[in-house]
C-alpha cells in the first residue's frame, strides 16, 4: 500500500493507495502516529484509491480517531468505494466517524 501525505494549511491529508490489511496496517499506524507527534490535529484519510480494508485497517482508524479526539483534533474520511463504506457501516463506525463523498467535502467539513 502507498500512503501519500500532503498538507492543506493546518490539515494533514493521507491518500491511501492499494490494500489496507494486517500486512500494511503497521505502516499506516506508524505514519499517522508520527504526524500526531509532529502536532497534526486535523486529518483527512482519502480512500479514493483504496481497494481493500480489513479489521486490521479499521483498528488503526479507530485508534487514530480516539487519540486525535483526546487532543481536541478531528478526522474525516472521504471518497470510499461503496463496498469499503459498507464495511464501516457493518462495523458501526459510521455512527461516530464522519464519512463524506469527496476530498473537497472533507476539507470543507474541517474548515467550518
Amino acid at each position: 500500500m502507498e500512503i501519500i501525505e500532503t498538507k492543506e494549511k493546518d490539515i494533514s491529508v493521507f491518500k491511501l493507495n492499494g490494500r489496507l490489511d494486517s500486512n500494511t496496517s503497521p505502516s499506516l499506524e506508524k505514519q499517522l502516529a508520527g504526524a500526531m507527534e509532529d502536532g497534526a490535529k486535523n486529518m483527512i484519510i482519502d480512500f479514493a484509491d483504496l481497494d481493500y480494508i480489513s479489521s486490521a485497517g479499521l483498528r488503526i482508524i479507530l485508534k487514530t480517531t480516539k487519540d486525535l479526539r483526546r487532543s481536541d483534533g478531528n478526522i474525516v474520511l472521504c471518497a470510499m468505494q461503496d463496498y469499503v463504506k459498507e464495511v464501516f457501516e457493518i462495523a458501526g463506525f459510521d455512527s461516530f466517524l464522519p464519512i463524506v463523498p469527496s476530498l473537497d467535502d472533507a476539507l470543507a467539513k474541517l474548515r467550518i
Binding site: 494486517s22 486490521a56 479507530l62 463496498y83 462495523a91 458501526g92 461516530f96
Partner: protein, 150 residues
C-alpha cells in the same frame, strides 16, 4: 455466467501473513472466472482474510510451519467455502460480537473480525474433526454477477 454452472478451486496457505497476497490472487482469479462483481470478490476476500488472520494469530502455540486448506465451490448460485486448519479448537460462533455501536467510547476492537464474517456470509457451520477445525461458509451470490457477463 450461468448460475447452474458448477466450478471449484482449492489451494493451501502457510501460516504467514504474507500469504494474504496469495489468498487475494487466488480469489480474484476464481471470482473473475465466475464473472463475480468486484464487491462480491471483496466480501469473500474480507471474510477469509479475517478467518485466516485469526487462525495464524491464535491457532498455533508453536512456531512451526502449518498449512491452512481452502476449498471453494459454486453450486446453484451459492458459494460454499471450506477452511481446514490443525490449530487449537476454535468455533467463531463462541465469540461474542459487538452490539450496535453508536458511540466511539463503546467501540472495542475485540470480535470485530468475526462480526464482519457473520455479516458478510449467509451461513457458518463449525465442526471439529480429530485435530482439525473445519469451517464451512455459504454465501448466496445470485445478486453478485457482473452485469457484463450475465
Amino acid at each position: 455466467m450461468n448460475p447452474m454452472v458448477c466450478c471449484k478451486t482449492s489451494f493451501k496457505l502457510k501460516n504467514n501473513l504474507s500469504e494474504l497476497d496469495t489468498l487475494c490472487r487466488n480469489l480474484q482469479q476464481f471470482g473473475n472466472s465466475l464473472g463475480l462483481t468486484k464487491k462480491c470478490i471483496f466480501q469473500i476476500n474480507l471474510a477469509l482474510d479475517e478467518l485466516f488472520t485469526n487462525i495464524i494469530s491464535y491457532g498455533y502455540p508453536d512456531s512451526a510451519d502449518h498449512w491452512i486448506n481452502i476449498a471453494i465451490s459454486h453450486e446453484n448460485g451459492t458459494l460454499i467455502i471450506r477452511i481446514e486448519d490443525t490449530g487449537v479448537p476454535f468455533d467463531p460462533d463462541s465469540v461474542k460480537t459487538p452490539e450496535l455501536i453508536d458511540k466511539i467510547e463503546d467501540c472495542r476492537v475485540g470480535g470485530l473480525g468475526i462480526h464482519l464474517i457473520k455479516k458478510l456470509m449467509d451461513e457458518i457451520v463449525y465442526e471439529r474433526c480429530g485435530n482439525k477445525n473445519i469451517l464451512t461458509l455459504k454465501k448466496n451470490i445470485e445478486t453478485f454477477y457482473d452485469e457484463l457477463t450475465t
